[in-house]
Amino acid sequence: MNFDENEDVILLRRSISEFMKRFTEEYWRRCDENREFPQEYWEAAAQSGLLAITIPEEYGGAGLGMYEAATAMMEVARCGGGLAAGDLLMRTLVFGGVMINRHGTKEAKEKYLPKLASGRAICSFAHTEPNAGVNTFDIQTRAEKRNGGYVVNGQKIWITLAHKADFIVTVVRTTPKEKAKSKTHGISVMIIDTKQEGVKTFKIHGMAMRALTSNTVYFEDAFVPEENVIGEIDRGWTCLTTLFNAERISTSSISLGCGEYVLNKAVDYAKNRIIFGRPIGSNQAIQFPLAEAKAELEVAKLMTLKAAWLFDQGRDCAIEANIAALQAGRAAMKAADRAIQTYGGMGFALDNDIERFYRDIRLFKTAPVPEEMVLNLIATKLLQLPRSF
């Protein structure tokens, strides 16, 4: 075993931390408060190649893997960009870079990947529906074959950035559940261009990730050309597992970056805030929970990087990616909670940015996969306990 990181990864991290100095805490706070898309960050990220990490060189990318992508997402989050900065990278690097690249048609790759790598297109991912969140097989959005392509009808909910997206990687049913040959049969994945009549989006004002905004999306006879099908018709589940694993690795990385950020702030405050004539950080009641949070973040990081490494080897990493997401989310939540405790009343002040991170970090206990579903997976797949549902 070798835990040494290669030079490229170290340089990438250093370069990102320099890059992030351009975007102050005030910048991210303003985007959050105004629910405003971080356009300047987006453009700068595109320019410095951060959107191109997982896209192959032939399409204008850097041809690197999830390990590098995870490093980048962790670092932008850690340097104050938090969830907004990390999630923005994930959309391009995973839904585009990984998904379209691994399972899309040649035409789709040529059409979308160069635009994604250069930041000329924004992509979104639509899976959740009002009546189907964790139960993917109950989705009702359907696609029917018509006019040399597919016509999509249905409704999606919570779709982050759909209002800004040029296209949405969408999970649909191509065979109704009752006619499907197996549980996973009948699900397909398609790229739906948003610049058409049949796609409408409505913003949802939520607690987390305010700079990006989630949406309800309606598809009314939205047209999808044949070449926009990702993977095989009715067998979309196979490629969805790729996407879910990469998404878990990404959300763990973002959690870890956010967790490190709040922890660093808390440690700094604990060293400098003097109460009863000494720094509050000299009380073990303050310092031990911070030490625990650090230990938990470090452990979760190992699992995240292991999952990323397995992913890049083309090996199954569902268990590792899910464990990473669970542990990183929890470790970050603990760090955020202890940061507020350390800051005392000041933890609630918007200007200290802890409350923003607290709100954002909370997301990963629920989305994209709630903790219960990760525990279900570990219990049934790894421990082979009987399935409860």
Binding site: L11, S48, A52, I53
Partner: protein, 259 residues
């Protein structure tokens, strides 16, 4: 075509440098290493010159315990080739000794060059010595504190910041120019550049490889210590007019403002 040599120094991130609470000596080993800020401006200027006029950009670095990664970073910014002399003997080298080693390195390894660019000083020591001394040893002209630089056939035209005024000077190449933060904003290595940097030549040398047998310092550093600053914690009370009046008096008395 203009070939440039850029001298870079490994320093520590001074923002993260803390004095030892007891001895008050700076704890260099605890602060992360980086390339001195002004040297990155020098490198950026060389890269811009290459973009306009063509040529090669060489990075040279001498010091003790130089981290390869930092030099790789300079290559990732766009330099073509790097020469590093890393030797424990250089740990206490001052501007004179460093300039001597740089001169030997440049003479023995760089085939041809028109321009040497240096940071005007280093962020850790701030002595402003190395660049001008190097020019003297190489017997070429130098222009310091340059805030804008243009190249003409066989000459450089340099805008030299002199506090309140700017002197525009012309100097014949080969020439040495020192620059500070005002001249440009150094680029960040992009992902593709980082990948490409791995394949660029990074030559690591010892003092004897460039024929240096002894080092001569002009200055001996006895001790480096942080100054302990105690705040005065004066509280002024009263009506706004009175408070303002008193504040002005104190500021004048302390010599912090002048009438």
């Amino acid at each position: 075509m203009v070939d440039c040599v850029v001298c870079v120094k490994q320093t520590v991130d001074v923002n993260q440098l803390r004095p030892n609470p007891e001895t008050l000596e700076p704890e260099y080993s605890k602060a992360p290493a980086k390339i001195s800020d002004f040297d990155l401006n020098a490198l950026e200027e060389a890269l811009r010159i290459r973009e306009r006029h063509g040529g090669k950009v060489y990075v040279v670095c001498v010091g003790s315990n130089v981290q390869q990664l930092l030099i790789r970073e300079a290559l990732a910014m766009g330099a073509d080739e790097a020469y590093v002399v890393s030797d424990p003997a250089l740990s206490s080298a001052d501007g004179l000794a460093t300039a001597g080693v740089l001169a030997s390195l440049i003479k023995s390894k760089i085939p041809s060059w028109d321009l040497i660019l240096c940071g005007e000083a280093s962020v850790d020591e701030g002595a402003y010595q190395t660049g001008p001394r190097l020019a003297e040893i190489l017997n070429i002209p130098h222009v310091s504190y340059v805030t804008k630089l243009e190249l003409e056939e066989g000459y450089v035209k340099a805008w030299k910041g002199m506090g309140g005024s700017v002197h525009v000077v012309r100097a014949k190449t080969p020439v040495l120019v020192t620059v500070g933060l005002e001249i440009n904003t150094p680029r960040l290595p992009s992902l593709l550049m980082i990948r490409a940097a791995g394949k660029k030549p990074l030559n690591e040398l010892k003092l004897q490889d460039i024929g240096v047998t002894s080092l001569e310092n002009a200055v001996e550093t006895r001790r480096v210590k942080a100054v302990k600053v105690e705040r005065k914690k004066q509280v002024i009370e009263g009506e706004p007019e009175e408070v303002a009046q008193k504040l002005v008096e104190i500021l004048l008395q302390e010599g912090l403002v002048k009438k």
